[in-house]
Symmetry: D2
Subunit: 345 residues, 4 copies
């Protein structure tokens, strides 16, 4: 591939949006108190309250795994556990960090589309008070999910009510929260604060930042623990202004939505293009910036010589195509043409 | 304080050097494979081999606590322990991360100047093979130390030989390795590779980066574990190119030395200035970019109304003044004048 | 219930066999070196070699959860994981100890009968070398299983070969190893050493001891770590002679087999009796000392007023009846009559 | 040494008192509900309330390290730490279990005699609320201490008040609580409940049990967590009646005091005997059942050919002689004569 290229492997492969870079450069003036007592972090706190409501408290973190582990640790006592989808990032893609760093037991449940249902949760909402069972204390949902699907606000609200009714809290892994909100055409709070989410991991990196995530606490009772857990979990940035500045940029002038909507639109364009190609089956609903499809193995292999993307499931031939804030219509059209060609269409 | 100010609280309060920012901007072109398979990280690997020797392997990490915990975990088996100075950052300033995240037992030893000696190590080099005692497996040294002192190469070499003779490994916490090397006027490898350090945490953040640290493995036998530990320890950056680019900038055209030498020179200027003021006792040797002094409490209080710096020890009145890559001679002179004024000189 | 009663709730409800108590009394003469350097523990080492082969090393532990966690920790490096059945004791009945104490990630797999198959293992034998996935390093099987079933030697041998072929080790949770061996009418080594098990948890408590378990290492490469892990995992008995004496008693004059065979025979008697009662469905194969059946909820409730046993699955009405070394034919017959009565037969 | 011998190495080398064995035999009738819902454990709860006061709750555990870790975990949140003496068992003799199993950071402090003072605690009662420092939440005292000394009730009361005034809790490691109470000629509650101890580890093993320890909660706010922590910390006995029966025996007819007083008296006899021997220096106050003395190395070596005891400090030649419930006056007199002989007196 050439020095400067774009593919469909991951929104983590995209670079930083110019407005994010500008914010970093602007933040680089003189000294600033380290570890969060700086102007950028103060401004971020205001912006987060604007977007998530007056009770929201924000704690910048260093990566998504870190934000998830800190947030879940703020809820779980040492003998407690997390209910999650089998496909959840914390289960399959965090190197065991929840178990290894925080001692979190995960009760996993299969899903058809990466989205949890009350019934799926009920399977693990058993043996409360039984010391032999690691006690479920929190349900984590990913929005948008690892499979490119999103919960609508009503669905999320019903789920949160159900979880609360069982005496548990709800954590939301929002590594792609922006894509979900953009796809649903709602505000960030409509799928978090307003539906009863207690704590969330707010992602910036996949949506145009260099590397910036945060824990956002919506249940004020959980806020006390987070600063301590963030530090002991090795997620506290010393020059925090540079992390906060990135998140500020995303929350300013709706950059978060502009980037996410664009990525989603590119995914729809890709979906529409690919749908026309005979022999390809779209594997999942496209609610955000990912398209999943079943492709013949040889087609995948040939395509990957020119385009980066992941085979999602070796056994079924399912592939994942991610669009990002910087994907262009021409990128999509070129890719569709290449797929079409390789499919012999 | 004004919007743009500089103080003497911490090298973490300083911003990023323009060459570092430029490197980030340059790295922001098109897509790059996430998690380290990018060009910047490849270039960093070359630069690290140049500076530390052909066997050196580099693994960028997100912060200093993370780099330390990953590096120490690469050595210690679950029943093993770390010998360190009582004043070591891992003991007093990492929120218990070594114990809490990695289960590392710390055997601490008092020192006069933050530097370990063979005798101090011997105190803990006991009961080998006794299951009742968490088995010491590694000695960690900080260079330059948390007290502004540095080991000279011979001292470090003798220490490493002693540690190896006891069957242990040596880790070096190099959050301020550049300041030590600059102060000693030696290359980076002269106080790491050449003296027998097995693994080190290489700091960039305090020396002009936004946020960039790395684990550098010098004993090849330790390299296999690091990628897995880095991920499960929540220290793996997705858009790693932006972390690597910062470290590349520091290792290019000797920026690391230019920044560190300047900070050290400012500390010497401050030392010289303060020495002239009657009633002030310099507390420690100044080998790097920190000056420690005993100050009357009321003087400290009045000074802190205009200048940021830390009281190091409430009981003795010892204060710490850190210089950074961006401290100016005028900053120092103004501060010396202010101290002098408050001391009634 | 009267002061002295027997039920069908658990083999943990049964007391200690007189020969075990005698052994404890005999061991209580004068002083003995603590922590395992005593004559009883030396004798146990000999007995374990007799039963499991010359390479076997035994490390007494305090309970079954402890033995499992120590054994699995001896295999897994900090970033590694365990494959187990969803119904495995380590997954559902150890309060999260594997995750919380040892940071072990569990990759669980559904089974029809509590027994793993090569195919079930293959589902998790993926993404080897991928740092984002906690790396599977060991498969744990329970023999006899939590559902009262047992692997035959050939089945276990094929499974072990398959696991070894994938580069992993095999751990056997033998809390009821005696019941499996008695049920299969084989020696202990026939379903451990001879089929390629690498390490096992040997249970004594459920088979007539007061409280005595052990880690038995069959792969000599794993032995070094166990003494250290046992201590740091809080499983080292100070007056170990009293734990070892119990295990010695079980391994002497085939007490282990006498106890287990009796319990199994009582389960068969119960099975035969219950089979005759119209309206009861036997839920699972009876290979050891447990009988599982589906019972109408009201029948269960009425029976439990006079007999202790557990409802296994609230949703299906499945119940578990355990027989123990001290269950008498009269106990069984009385119970069958009571069930029959309550079923209105 | 002969098959049946007694030495001065450890109270863990002694066997079980006949009344303890009798209690076990008596407890062995029919079935009993596992995991603590049995008659013996209920009776233990009554006895503990009698001895420690109405609010006391008891949770039997499997060994002393386990009881300590569970008790401390009941106090500390994941970012919190424990203040202890450098010589504390949890620091030097538990294989790192506090750090490795519970993530507990230990802030250690040197002492002259194994006993903490308010001043020693104050050294670590700093930086409250500072996330960079693992936050001290509990002070643990050992009574009687690892050096054979004991706090008097007033001393302990003042210490507890001081600790509470600092917002922390007090844990007491009572592996030898009986020896302290016997030595001070007070009830168990006089040095626990009545002086403000919040939670304690109650030892039985060293005082005539086979293996029986317990967590006793005196601050009711801490009780909720203990059952969960005990299970996940692998300290829950299945056939708990046999652990509880041992503790019941010790708390019945003052067996605890009879055993401990006897051991203490033997230590005093040994002290008096040794004092007469020229050339031996007694190293520490003898408040309980341990005598520490400085002995020439060659004398130690010759004595150890016939008597088991530990060299406590290789560097100073200090040795430890422990008496137990079964030490006889003749044992002591014979040992004194042997020492005298070897000293050439």
């Amino acid at each position: 591939m050439s020095t400067s290229w774009r593919g469909f492997a991951s929104d983590n492969y995209a670079g930083a949006h110019p407005e994010v870079l500008d914010a970093i450069v602007r933040a680089n003036a003189g000294h600033a108190v380290a570890y969060g007592e700086d102007d950028e972090t103060a401004r971020l706190a205001d912006l987060v309250r604007e977007h998530f409501g007056a009770q929201a408290e924000v704690f910048p973190a260093l990566n998504g795994t870190g934000a998830n582990v800190v947030a879940l640790s703020a809820i779980c006592r040492p003998w407690e556990a997390v209910i999650c989808a089998e496909t959840a990032h914390i289960n399959v893609d965090e190197g065991g960090a929840p178990e290894k760093m925080a001692g979190l037991k995960l009760w996993t449940t299969p899903t058809v589309d990466g989205l949890l249902t009350p019934d799926a949760i009920d399977v693990h909402a058993v043996r409360s008070g039984d010391v032999h069972r690691s006690q479920q204390a929190v349900v984590t949902v990913t929005q948008s999910s690892e499979l490119g699907t999103a919960y609508c606000p009503e669905q999320l609200g019903r789920l949160a009510d159900h979880v609360h009714g069982l005496g548990m809290k709800v954590h939301l892994d929002g590594a792609r929260l922006a894509n979900a909100a953009a796809g649903l055409d709602v505000d960030l709070r409509a799928i978090t604060t307003d539906v009863g989410i207690d704590i969330l991991s707010l992602g910036g990196t996949k949506n145009g930042a260099l590397g910036a995530e945060a824990v956002v606490v919506l249940d004020p009772g959980l806020a006390h623990a987070v600063p301590f857990l963030r530090k002991s979990s090795m997620q506290l940035a010393s020059k925090m202004r540079f992390v906060s500045a990135q998140l500020c940029a995303l929350l300013t002038d709706d950059l978060w939505r502009r980037n996410a909507s664009h990525a989603n639109a590119m995914a729809q364009r890709l979906l529409e293009g690919v749908k026309q190609i005979p022999g390809i089956t779209i594997a999942r609903r496209v609610d955000a910036n990912a398209v999943f499809a079943y492709l013949p193995r040889d087609v995948t292999a040939r395509l990957q010589q020119h385009y980066r993307f992941y085979e999602w499931d070796e056994r079924t031939g399912e592939v994942r195509w991610m669009c990002s804030w910087d994907t262009t219509p021409a990128d999509v059209d070129g890719f569709v043409a290449a797929i079409s060609r390789e499919m012999g269409a």
